[in-house]
C-alpha cells in the first residue's frame, strides 16, 4: 500500500470521534466485520488509527477506497465545511430523465479531458443526494488529497452545493463539468452560504416551515394556560402587546425550526442621511458600510428578538426575507422608495 494512502487513512481516522469510528468503518465496508472486531476501540486514538491502517495494508487499500471513507466522514459531519449554493439554468422545457450512470460518465469525462491528475469519487444517498469528492492535481503533481472539493447534487434540481477548497482556480472547470453532466446551460453562484448544508437545502428546496393558512386541522398551539406565578395578584400588563408580537412572529417565521445560517451580510451603498446643518461629508457620495450579523443560529435569534423585547415587531423585511429570497448576502443601493434595491428575484 502506498505510504501516502496509509498516511491519509491514518489522518482521516484521527478526525473521527472515538465512538463513531467503528460505525463509520462498518459503513465504509472495506474492512470485514471480523477485521473490525480485532481493533480495540478503547485505546488511544493514535493507536486505533495505526491498527486501522495496518488492516487496510492487509487489504491493499488504494486512494479510491480511502477517498470513500473521506466522503462518509464529510457526509456525517458536513458542518465542518462552509457550503455555497450555485444555481443552474436550462434552455429547454422537456422533462428530465436523469440517468445517474450517464451523469457520472459525462462528469468524469469533462473533468479528465481538462485535467489528467484528479481523483473523482461518487457516492449516492437515500435522499437522492449525489456526493462528489474531487482531489485536484496539476499536470506535474499528483492530486492533493487534503485539499478536496465537495459537490452535493440532487438530480433534476437546478441547485448545486459546493464546498470548494482553497484552490478556487479549479472552480470554473468544476462548474463546467457539472453543467455538461446535468444537461443544463449555465451556472452562477448564489448569494447564499452557510456551514449547515441541510439548512441550505431546506432554504432552496423550500423544506422549511412556511405558515400556510389552510383548513387542515392542526393542533392549536399551547397558550400559557397554567399561570407561571403562584401569586394571582400579579397581572400581565402587556398581555395584548405580547400576544400581538407572538402572532406577528408566527406569521413571519412559521411554527417550525428555522434553517441554520451563521451570518447575514449587508453591503450598504446608500447616501449618509444626516442633518443638513451637520454636513459631515464634503462630497455627496454613497457612504460605504458593511453590516454583518453573526450568530450560531441567526434566524432563531432573529425570531426571538421581538418576544425578548429587544426589537420592535414586525422586524425589518431585510432580515426576515432571508429564507424566502434564498440569500444572506445583500447589496443595498439607493432607491426611490423605502425598499432596498438589487434583490435577485427568486
Amino acid at each position: 500500500m502506498d505510504e501516502t494512502v496509509a498516511e491519509y487513512i491514518r489522518r482521516t481516522v484521527l478526525k473521527i470521534p472515538r465512538d463513531e469510528i467503528k460505525p463509520m468503518l462498518q459503513k465504509w465496508g472495506f474492512l470485514s466485520e471480523a477485521q473490525i472486531e480485532t481493533v480495540n476501540f478503547r485505546q488511544m486514538k493514535e493507536n486505533i488509527s495505526q491498527d486501522v491502517v495496518q488492516l487496510c495494508e492487509e487489504n491493499s487499500a488504494d486512494i479510491k477506497q480511502a477517498a470513500v471513507l473521506d466522503i462518509i466522514y464529510n457526509n456525517i459531519y458536513p458542518n465542518k465545511r462552509i457550503w455555497s449554493v450555485y444555481q443552474m439554468n436550462k434552455t429547454g422545457e422537456e422533462t428530465e430523465f436523469f440517468d445517474l450512470t450517464d451523469f457520472k460518465k459525462k462528469f468524469k469525462r469533462r473533468l479528465r479531458s481538462a485535467l489528467k491528475n484528479v481523483t473523482i469519487n461518487f457516492r449516492e444517498y437515500e435522499d437522492n443526494a449525489i456526493w462528489i469528492r474531487i482531489a485536484w492535481g496539476t499536470p506535474y503533481k499528483n492530486p492533493n488529497q487534503y485539499k478536496t472539493s465537495y459537490v452535493v447534487y440532487h438530480s433534476q434540481t437546478p441547485y448545486v452545493f459546493i464546498s470548494a477548497s482553497v484552490l478556487r482556480s479549479n472552480l470554473p472547470l468544476l462548474c463546467q463539468a457539472l453543467v455538461v453532466a446535468s444537461n443544463y446551460r449555465d451556472i452562477h453562484e448564489m448569494e447564499l452560504r452557510s456551514h449547515s448544508l441541510n439548512s441550505l437545502k431546506d432554504i432552496v428546496f423550500k423544506r422549511y416551515s412556511q405558515n400556510f393558512q389552510t383548513y387542515c386541522p392542526r393542533p392549536l398551539p399551547e397558550r400559557n394556560v397554567a399561570p407561571e406565578t403562584v401569586d394571582s395578584r400579579i397581572i400581565q400588563e402587556n398581555r395584548n402587546e405580547k400576544e400581538r408580537i407572538q402572532r406577528l412572529n408566527r406569521q413571519v417565521f412559521g411554527d417550525g425550526p428555522q434553517p441554520k445560517i451563521e451570518f447575514a451580510q449587508y453591503k450598504l451603498e446608500t447616501m449618509f442621511k444626516s442633518d443638513p446643518e451637520m454636513d459631515v461629508l464634503d462630497k455627496k457620495e454613497p457612504f460605504r458600510c458593511l453590516v454583518k450579523f453573526s450568530s450560531p443560529h441567526l434566524l432563531e435569534s432573529l425570531k426571538s428578538l421581538a418576544p425578548a423585547g429587544m426589537a420592535d415587531a414586525p422586524l425589518s423585511p431585510l432580515l426576515t426575507c432571508i429564507p424566502q429570497k434564498a440569500r444572506n448576502y445583500f447589496k443595498i443601493r439607493e432607491k426611490k422608495g423605502l425598499l432596498p434595491g438589487s434583490f435577485v428575484s427568486p
Partner: protein
C-alpha cells in the same frame, strides 16, 4: 424567636390575601356568567317571539302551519351544515382545497395513491395586480414555473388540475419505488437506481426458469410526467440465456407497463417465479 414568629405571621397573612383574591375572582366570574346567562335568555326569548310571529303570520294568510318557502332557522342551519360537509367531502376526494387570505388565496393540494393519502403541498397566491405565486412548498423538481406560465393567468382551475396531476403522479411513482425497496428488496440484486422525480428506474432482479436463476436488467422510463406507470420497460437478459427467457422478459415488460411496480413483484412471488 421573634423572626420565626414574624415569618409565621407573614406567611399566614400571605395565605389569607391569596385566598381572598381567589374568592373575589370566583365571585367576579360568577357574576359575569350570570350576566351572560341573562343575555342569552333574552336572545332566546327574542328569537322565540320572532318565530312565533312568523308562524302566526303564516296562519293568518294561508292557514298552513309552515310555509316551505320560508324555512325555519333550524332548517337553514341544517342545510348550511350539510352543504359544508358536502364541500369538505369534495375537497377530501379531489385533494384540492383553498382558503381566502388577505391578499389572495392559499391552496392545498393533497396527494394520494391507490387509497393511501400521501404528502400535501401548499401554494400561496396573490390575486392583485395579477395572479401570481407568492410562496409555495412544491418540490423543486416539479416544473411549477412552466405550468404556471401556461395556465395560471388564464385558467386557474386548469393550472391546479395540471399541477395536481403532476404531484399525484410523482408521489405515486415514489410510493411504488419505496414499496419495491421496502418489501421486495430480496428480489433485487444490488441497488435500485432512481432519481428525484422517480421517472427513471434501473435495477436488476432474478428470475428462475428450469430450476436455474437468471438476472434480468430492467430500465423503466416514465415518459409522461402525469402518469405513474412507465411508458417504456426495457428488460435485457444475459447473452447465454435460454430462449424461453425472452418470452418471459416480454411478458414482464408488458406487466410493468400495466400494473404498479410493487403489485407486479407481488404477482412474481405469488406465482412462485
Amino acid at each position: 424567636g421573634v423572626f420565626a414568629h414574624l415569618e409565621l405571621l407573614e406567611a399566614r397573612a400571605y395565605e389569607a390575601a391569596v385566598k381572598q383574591e381567589e374568592t373575589e375572582q370566583q365571585e367576579e366570574k360568577l357574576a359575569r356568567l350570570k350576566a351572560r346567562v341573562q343575555e342569552l335568555r333574552l336572545q332566546r326569548d327574542e328569537l322565540r317571539a320572532k318565530v312565533e310571529q312568523q308562524q302566526k303570520g303564516q296562519l293568518g294568510k294561508e292557514g298552513a302551519v309552515l310555509n316551505p318557502a320560508q324555512p325555519s332557522a333550524r332548517a337553514v342551519l341544517e342545510w348550511k351544515m350539510k352543504s359544508l360537509k358536502a364541500k369538505l367531502q369534495i375537497f377530501y376526494l379531489t385533494g384540492i382545497s383553498g382558503k381566502l387570505t388577505k391578499r389572495g388565496v392559499c391552496f392545498c393540494i393533497s396527494t394520494a395513491y391507490e387509497g393511501t393519502y400521501l404528502d400535501s403541498y401548499h401554494l400561496d397566491l396573490l390575486t392583485k395586480p395579477e395572479v401570481q405565486i407568492y410562496r409555495h412548498s412544491v418540490p423543486i423538481f416539479i416544473p411549477l414555473q412552466q405550468i404556471a406560465k401556461k395556465y395560471l393567468q388564464t385558467d386557474i382551475r386548469r393550472f391546479l388540475s395540471v399541477l395536481s396531476n403532476h404531484l399525484n403522479a410523482y408521489v405515486g411513482r415514489r410510493y411504488q419505488a419505496d414499496q419495491l425497496q421496502e418489501h421486495f428488496s430480496g428480489h433485487i440484486e444490488g441497488t435500485l437506481q432512481r432519481n428525484s422525480l422517480c421517472n427513471l428506474l434501473v435495477f436488476n432482479y432474478n428470475v428462475s426458469s428450469e430450476s436455474k436463476t437468471f438476472p434480468f436488467k430492467v430500465r423503466l422510463l416514465y415518459g409522461d410526467p402525469c402518469c405513474s406507470l412507465p411508458t417504456e420497460a426495457v428488460i435485457s437478459c444475459t447473452p447465454g440465456a435460454p430462449p424461453s427467457l425472452a418470452e418471459m422478459a416480454a411478458a414482464h415488460s408488458d406487466l410493468f407497463r400495466r400494473v404498479p411496480l410493487h403489485k407486479a413483484f407481488r404477482s412474481f412471488s405469488s406465482s412462485g417465479e
